[in-house]
């Protein structure tokens, strides 16, 4: 034990000491280098390039001629695939959630973003309008009848052919197992016209049916195989059609997949994709930098800067806001039910500055109103703009004054106090709450921040509640206004959200005509009319429209970011050695 021991101890001691020194140095060094560096503004360039440089090329195998909506395929890939048939790489992707079951009827978000499930229609990357995917097109024969053509050459992972019978069974299964989808689709009958055509009838007119069929829960599945496999064994059924087949799934942890070589769009250049759940944004970014993963979903603004500064990594975004970062406004509690106080609160918060904080250029944009530009621009509809002086006037008008000189206003001895809620998983929400708290204090409104869990939104304990929500469902502007005031179901939560208990009776008549209007301009007009009311009454308080921002290794090829977060991995994404 003598000499060696002393030696080993000496070295461990030195190591420990060195460790601390190294830590100090490591943490000190980047502080000096990055704080001097100009802030990164180059994030848009690669994204633009990628978006424009993709040539239109029909994919192999599929009957491309009759299908205008074939996803573009990159030129170099078929060759690359042929060469590297034996040793295709596997991509490791860090995702936020892996929390829902694989069977799409349960939600479909996991399988859709993973490139496993596909729908009859999907939202286009350019303007988020519905475009054919497994369908070839849809014709509205009469207000209640739709004829939908189907793509040929599509097979399920188990080898079965996707024909009209299969699609009919799939839709019937969706209606049977997903009440929310059944509600939104409103389908009465599904019938087979011929092998590649089905006919749908609805009970009420559904002018946006193709859009509604983009909901991930309505993905086309091999119903017979799924039902035969039984509950909990969906993975074994091979019942999906996407370029990747799930091979193992540990909920909240890991989803592994292998390429489906007979995919109708072409053979994927990857052997498979491993999806690893890393809920914390910061950890995902670190894992990407350390090379543990090749692809990270949703970077923070800070992460974009750090990752773009590295030679072997890049960030990409489509630069189109598809999610809204906002506050629910509680009409049920007394405080904000008073329109004067509500407006005073809205005017006291500099939402544009907060947007610059949580969704700076390249990661999002200021949301003056609820709807993102991609869906509709409504001239003349403007949100409450920051005006603390006016806010103080409104407070005085509502009878509030600082009588006890503590810097906060009160009325009849009761201080004006509001609670700003939120949940921590979306990094924007705590920051937003804190910033608003300070801004409200400036006009004399005391605000309490309570960052808890998302389901607190259902409890009557808050006045403003931070929220992150998809705002491009079905690509329909009307739906994406009315779902926030409880008039229609949200595709993500499959339920009507009206957490603020806003009285939507005034909107019912405005939105009613949307039941029959199918042209987009008409729907935009209706949406704008509804939006004007929602904005005027401050039913919700939007802050920012967030982009989907991806971080990836330079080795990743063929990735063309789609603005919507249900479309991430397709058959074109590859990895070079």
């Amino acid at each position: 034990m003598p000499k060696q021991l002393i030696h080993s101890i000496r070295s461990t001691a030195l190591m420990t000491l060195g460790l601390w020194l190294a830590l100090a140095i490591a943490c000190g060094a980047p502080a000096a280098s990055t704080e001097n560096a100009p802030s990164p503004a180059a994030t848009e360039a690669p994204a633009l390039e990628a978006a424009t440089a993709v040539p239109q090329q029909p994919s192999q195998g599929a009957a491309a001629s009759e299908q205008p909506a074939t996803p573009p395929t990159q030129v170099e890939q078929p060759a690359a695939v042929a060469d590297a048939e034996t040793e295709r790489p596997t991509l490791n992707a860090g995702v936020i959630w892996l929390s829902t079951p694989l069977d799409p009827v349960e939600s479909g978000w996991v399988t859709s973003q993973s490139g496993m499930s596909e729908n009859l229609f999907r939202l286009s990357a350019s303007d988020l309008s519905p475009e054919p995917w497994l369908a070839t097109g849809a014709v509205q024969v009469d207000p209640l009848t739709w004829e939908i053509g189907l793509r040929t050459g599509v097979t399920f992972h188990n080898g079965a052919v996707m024909d009209a019978e299969a699609v009919k069974a799939s839709l019937e299964r969706v209606i049977r197992l997903s009440p929310a989808s059944a509600d939104s689709l409103n389908i009465d009958t599904v019938s087979v016209k011929d092998e590649q055509t089905i006919i749908l009838t609805t009970l009420e007119p559904r002018p946006t049916l193709p859009g509604l069929l983009t909901a991930p829960a309505t993905a086309v599945t091999d119903a017979a195989a799924a039902d035969a496999a039984g509950e909990g064994n969906f993975l074994d059924a091979g019942a999906l059609t996407g370029p990747y087949m799930p091979t193992s799934y540990v909920i909240e942890e890991r989803l592994e997949s292998v390429a489906y070589d007979d995919y109708w769009g072409g053979t994927p250049p990857l052997a498979g994709i491993n999806h690893i759940a890393i809920p914390d944004t910061n950890s995902r970014e670190l894992a990407l930098q350390a090379g543990d993963i090749d692809f990270a979903i949703n970077l923070s603004p800070e992460g974009v800067g750090v990752i773009d500064a590295q030679l072997d990594l890049r960030s990409q975004t489509a630069g189109i806001g598809t999610s809204v970062v906002m506050w629910w406004v509680n009409f049920e509690r007394g405080t904000l039910a008073d329109p004067l106080v509500r407006r005073a609160v809205a005017l006291a918060i500099d939402r544009e500055s907060i947007a610059g904080l949580v969704a700076p250029a390249g990661t999002g944009s200021y949301a003056d109103t609820l709807l993102p530009e991609a869906l509709a621009t409504c001239p003349g509809v403007t949100g409450p703009s920051f005006d603390p002086a006016r806010s103080r006037e409104l407070l005085a008008q509502a009878g509030y004054a600082d009588t006890d000189g503590d810097g906060f206003v009160d009325k009849a001895g009761e201080p004006l106090e509001i609670v700003i809620g939120g949940y921590p998983q979306r990094f924007q929400l705590p920051i937003m709450a804190e910033a608003a708290q300070a801004m409200l204090a400036d006009v004399g409104i005391r605000a309490d921040v309570q960052i808890t869990e998302w389901s607190t939104v259902k409890e009557p304990t808050w006045d403003l509640f931070g929220w992150y929500n998809n705002v491009v469902d079905a690509g329909d502007p009307v739906l994406n206004v009315s779902k926030f005031v409880g008039l229609e179901a949200d595709a993500e939560s499959s339920a009507a959200n009206n957490f603020g208990h806003y009285d939507n009776s005034g909107l019912v008549d405005i939105v009613a005509p949307a039941g029959t209007v199918s042209d987009l301009e008409g729907r935009k007009r209706i949406a704008c009319e509804a939006l004007a009311v929602v904005t005027e009454e401050i039913a919700v308080l939007p802050v920012a429209h967030a982009y989907m921002v991806y971080g990836l290794s330079e080795r990743v090829t063929g990735f063309d970011p789609h603005p919507h977060r249900v479309y991430i991995f397709d058959h074109r994404i590859g990895l070079t050695e």
Binding site: A31, E35, G305, S353, G356, P430, E434, A438
Partner: protein, 303 residues
């Protein structure tokens, strides 16, 4: 995280600081300062106390005043340690954090000590079935690592600094109760206590006059050794997002807020981290010194 004190059942580790002061009781307090480690501990604790007590009156920026144009500024004359992600002065937040940390530690300590004293004295003084029952409960609770139990209680109560303190106080007392029981037991068996008892002195009187002075030393030692763990534990719970709500300048919560800036402004993470480290180090060093001074043998249960 008082596992050490807890599981060792009061066998507080034998001092690492040289025990020379032990024998020279008359130099007690000067000896305390003469030991470099203890002196450093004392210095750190006193600085922390001063910072905590004086924070509102020091010429510091408002720790909660946000200023978005000034966010993430590097250290400068105006902002000694720069600003955080909302443009708040980091130095001011760290100093005010001392106030909160001390307050949190004090509340937790007071809560846990109250329970520990009640249980420990009752158990040690009374003996019999209450002793058996109470120590049974203690044995039972010792099976739960305290941070984990605190996490569970805080999770059940919902996020909030008050809930975290409640949770910590509710679980932190377990090990101390056993130590106090041992010391009480030892004191009770002393002759003068038996004599006082025979003379017809009331129980409360005996406890206050004879038992209390005997357990004061051990309590001071336990408390000072424990504050460090409490600070670490509470900061840990806050770091996990279960504690202080914004804009409270709490060190653990500050660390959590700083994570996105780990690479761009690591000082935001390092400063509260260093503050926690120094505070814990200070209390640990001071506790070690106090233990040496107050004779560790009295701390051992069962005499």
């Amino acid at each position: 995280m008082t596992v050490e004190a807890q599981r060792s059942g009061g066998r507080v580790p034998v001092p690492t600081v040289a025990g020379s002061s032990r024998r020279r009781r008359r130099h007690q307090w000067t000896a305390l300062v003469r030991e470099p480690g203890t002196a450093l501990g004392l210095f750190l604790v006193v600085s922390l106390l001063l910072a905590g007590l004086l924070a509102p009156w020091l010429p510091l920026d408002d720790p909660t005043e946000i200023s978005l144009p000034d966010r993430l500024l590097p250290p400068s004359a105006e902002h000694l340690l720069g600003t955080d992600h909302l443009g708040r002065d980091t130095f001011s937040r760290v100093v005010h954090g001392a106030r909160l940390t001390l307050l949190a530690a004090a509340v937790t300590l007071a809560l846990s000590m109250t329970i520990a004293l009640t249980v420990g004295i009752l158990s040690g003084y009374h003996g019999g079935w209450p002793d058996t029952a109470l120590m049974g409960v203690v044995d039972l609770l010792l099976a739960f690592p305290s941070l984990i139990l605190a996490l569970a209680v805080a999770g059940a109560l919902g996020p909030g600094l008050f809930n975290v303190l409640l949770a910590a106080g509710a679980v932190w007392w377990v090990g101390h109760a056993r130590i106090i029981r041992g010391v009480t037991l030892g004191a009770r068996q002393m002759e003068y206590v038996t004599a006082a008892h025979a003379a017809g002195a009331g129980n409360l009187r005996i406890i206050l006059r004879h038992i209390a002075p005997n357990i004061l030393g051990p309590i001071i030692v336990i408390a000072s050794l424990d504050v460090g763990w409490i600070i670490l534990g509470i900061a840990g719970l806050n770091f996990l997002g279960l504690g202080a709500q914004p804009p409270t300048p709490e060190w653990g919560a500050m660390l959590n807020d700083a994570r996105p800036h780990l690479q761009t402004a690591p000082r935001l993470l390092l400063l509260p981290g260093a503050a926690i480290f120094l505070a814990v180090l200070g209390f640990n060093l001071l506790g070690d010194g106090l233990r040496d001074l107050l004779d560790p043998r009295t701390v051992r249960p069962g005499g």
